[in-house]
């Protein structure tokens, strides 16, 4: 197999980063990204892109930690380069605060982010309703810039990108040797994964350039994430809700909750409301599968179900998916050489 043809379905942060990893690990592959949506209309574009991991209940912690470490290391290098502003990657410091002391005072990722330590009494004075907090410095991937930067890197490798709604993976078997499924919430329909469920998130993106720190309530519901030009205020975690329409009552509630943590937000301007469905699963599905139909085989690599933690682990899962693509290629080359005998 001289030049394996790989189709990556999905152009959010997972699809684009997976496609890029495949071009890096398999330079002879021809990679095509197919998606019904591209930036700025993907779920990734709604997310703040903060590197603060979500814990997947059914994925081994050491694997989640590895994914996060690889992602952090990769983005850390970009943030420290001349490409940082184009890629939308920047360091941001801040606080995760709790109304009551959490069971786990040291999250698994505390030694990967920078300068992680408990907040001092003086620092906690800023949050009179909160009794405990953690201060640290992490990275933020602003979207659209990060997705556009990934698209640019992909185009430079010769990868193609097409707007196309893929209704069935089998559509692709005649044109492509391997299909990589990075369809996020779309996998519910596309591969019938009933373990995948939406967790609806509504956010506000506001102009408040004096806000230089992130603030996150440990309950995950209220957060303030300053990006390059806008601050993301959140949010909601509505399990099972498929609605993509902004709710005005929710907007008011998010704004009030964020203002109670950061009163200066009262002066925020240009409020934009966005909704995204976190493609949630008990464990991220990074897995090889061989689909079979009427004697025809189609190797598929799945990489979806990142829920609330897509940005935090994207590069790590992309690396793993690219590795699985490599295994698919080896298997195909093995079987084709056997066929020659």
């Amino acid at each position: 197999m001289a030049s394996p043809k790989v189709a990556v379905v999905g152009a959010g942060v997972i699809g684009l980063s997976t496609a890029l990893c495949i071009t890096e690990t398999c330079p002879s592959c021809s990679v095509t990204v197919l998606s019904d949506q591209f930036s700025p209309n993907t779920t990734s574009d709604v997310a703040a892109g903060m590197l603060i991991p979500h814990t997947y209940p059914d994925t081994l912690i050491h694997r989640q930690k590895q994914w996060f470490r690889e992602t952090f290391t990769y983005l850390f290098a970009i943030s420290n380069s001349a490409e940082a502003s184009e890629a939308g990657i920047h360091l941001v410091s801040g606080w995760q605060i709790f109304k009551s002391t959490p069971k786990e005072e040291l999250p698994f990722w505390s030694d990967i982010v920078l300068g992680f330590r408990p907040m001092s009494e003086a620092e906690l004075q800023k949050f009179p309703e909160h009794r405990f907090g953690q201060a640290f410095t992490t990275l933020k991937c602003d979207c659209p810039p990060y997705l556009l930067w990934l698209e640019k890197r992909l185009k430079a490798t010769g990868a193609q990108m097409y707007t196309r709604k893929v209704a069935d993976l089998w559509e692709l078997h005649s044109e492509y040797d391997i299909v990589v499924n990075c369809t996020g919430m779309g996998a519910h329909q596309l591969v019938g994964d009933k373990q995948l469920f939406p967790v609806r998130g509504q956010v506000l993106k506001v102009h408040a350039p004096w806000v230089k720190h992130f603030i996150r309530d440990g309950d995950g519901l209220t957060y303030i994430y300053p990006g390059i030009d806008r601050v993301t205020l959140g949010g909601t975690r509505e399990k099972g809700s498929w609605s993509l329409s902004p709710d005005p009552g929710t907007t008011r509630d998010i704004f009030d909750r964020c203002c109670s943590l950061e009163p200066s937000l009262q002066g925020a301007q240009d409020i934009e409301v966005k909704v995204g469905l976190r493609p949630s699963r008990q464990c991220v599905r990074v897995q090889r599968e061989i689909l079979s139909q009427g004697g025809v085989k189609l190797p598929v690599v799945h990489n979806y179900g990142h829920g609330a933690g897509g940005f935090s682990v994207h590069r790590g899962t992309a690396n793993e998916a690219a590795h699985l693509v490599g295994e698919c290629i080896s298997a195909l080359q093995g079987s084709s050489s056997r066929a020659k005998l």
Partner: protein
């Protein structure tokens, strides 16, 4: 009682406000006037980035450390007030970088979350082997000075766009007390060889992805003579010039190149930042702040001057502590005048 403040930078305006707030009720006849040749946005305070941070060493000057603390605590108390945005006040965290270990600064317990940098953080800054991280405050002159001006105007304080040539000029008009907050130009009013310019130059850029201040230190060169990056609410200030004795307020191409090259080396992402302005200013440097009373004999009158100048590159950092101290000096002047005004008891 006519009080004239000379200077409308952060020192003049904050001193005026402290005095009016504290004594307006006690002295119904109090008339406060501000005289300056430059007003916001053309003062030295407007050019400064506005970061609250004292120098590395207080040289044993505990009084200045106390004034710095008073200022920080005062500002921190206003952080959650509705006025904060209008004041140009917000929290900011960042890095101080060194090429060798240094002792903790006098202000380590004043700021929030002060700690040493971890090895991983130092990887961000090749060439620097030691440093601090802490959370401090920004107080942007371009917002704070108009805010102070509005507060003063609401209180009926009058402003005069006039360069005062001598204390005598004001006293002969009937002013009772002069507050000398003339910063770099104090020497024009009364020679002071200890007051020297510490020339600075800054480049203003658009780099909204920078969320931390980064201040490098070259212990051999001295403060602010090493690159620094301070993100504001609208633009980011790049600096690193401190030229003792240089009175030029013209931007220098050589200094521009030094600032640009060294800041881009420090933060490669800056290479893509758009330059939106450049400015040079003179830090009113002095071995210590001159904050004291002086009684001047003018014929058969005793005129009072309160000096409050020489805050170098830490005017914003120390302003409130000094303004309160100036107000206390004013109080003692009032006390004395009251005693003089009280007629002597009946002679028996």
């Amino acid at each position: 009682m006519r009080v004239a403040v000379i200077g409308a930078g952060v020192i003049g305006l904050s001193s005026a406000l402290c005095i009016h707030e504290q004594f307006h009720g006690l002295v119904p006849s109090l008339e406060l006037e501000v005289y300056a040749d430059h007003f916001t946005p053309h003062t030295t305070s407007d050019g400064a980035a506005g970061l609250w941070q004292p120098y590395l060493s207080d040289h044993g000057n505990l009084q200045e450390t106390l004034w710095n603390k008073e200022t920080f605590d005062y500002l921190l108390g206003h952080l959650h007030s509705p006025a904060a945005k209008e004041m140009g006040l917000f929290l900011i965290s960042g890095y101080n970088l060194f090429t060798e270990p240094v002792p903790d600064p006098s202000w380590k317990n004043i700021v929030l979350g002060f700690r040493n940098l971890t090895p991983k953080e130092l990887e961000l800054f090749p060439g620097y082997s030691f440093g601090w991280f802490n959370t401090a405050l920004m107080l942007e002159g371009r917002s704070y000075l108009p805010w102070l001006t509005n507060r003063l105007m609401q209180r009926g304080v009058k402003f005069f766009h006039k360069k005062i040539e001598s204390f005598q000029e004001l006293f002969s008009q009937g002013v009772d007390v002069v507050l000398n907050c003339s910063g770099m130009r104090a020497g024009d009013l009364q020679p002071d060889p200890e007051l020297q310019p510490g020339r600075g130059q800054v480049i203003k850029v658009l780099a909204p992805w920078v969320k931390h201040f980064i201040i490098t230190h070259d212990l051999k060169s001295g403060i602010y003579d090493s690159p620094y990056i301070i993100p504001g609410s609208e633009f980011t200030v790049l600096g690193g010039i401190y030229q003792h004795g240089n009175w030029s307020e013209e931007n220098s191409a050589k200094d521009h190149k030094f600032i640009w090259d060294s800041c881009c080396r420090l933060l490669p992402a800056l290479q893509k930042a758009k330059i939106v302005g450049e400015w040079s200013g003179l830090r009113p440097a002095r071995p210590s702040v001159r904050l004291e009373r002086e009684s001047i004999r003018l014929g058969n009158l005793q005129a009072e001057v309160i000096h409050n100048y020489g805050h170098g590159g830490f005017g914003i950092t120390i302003h409130r502590g000094c303004a309160m101290a100036a107000a206390r000096l004013f109080g003692s002047i009032l006390q004395e005048k009251r005693q003089l005004a009280t007629p002597p008891g009946p002679r028996l």
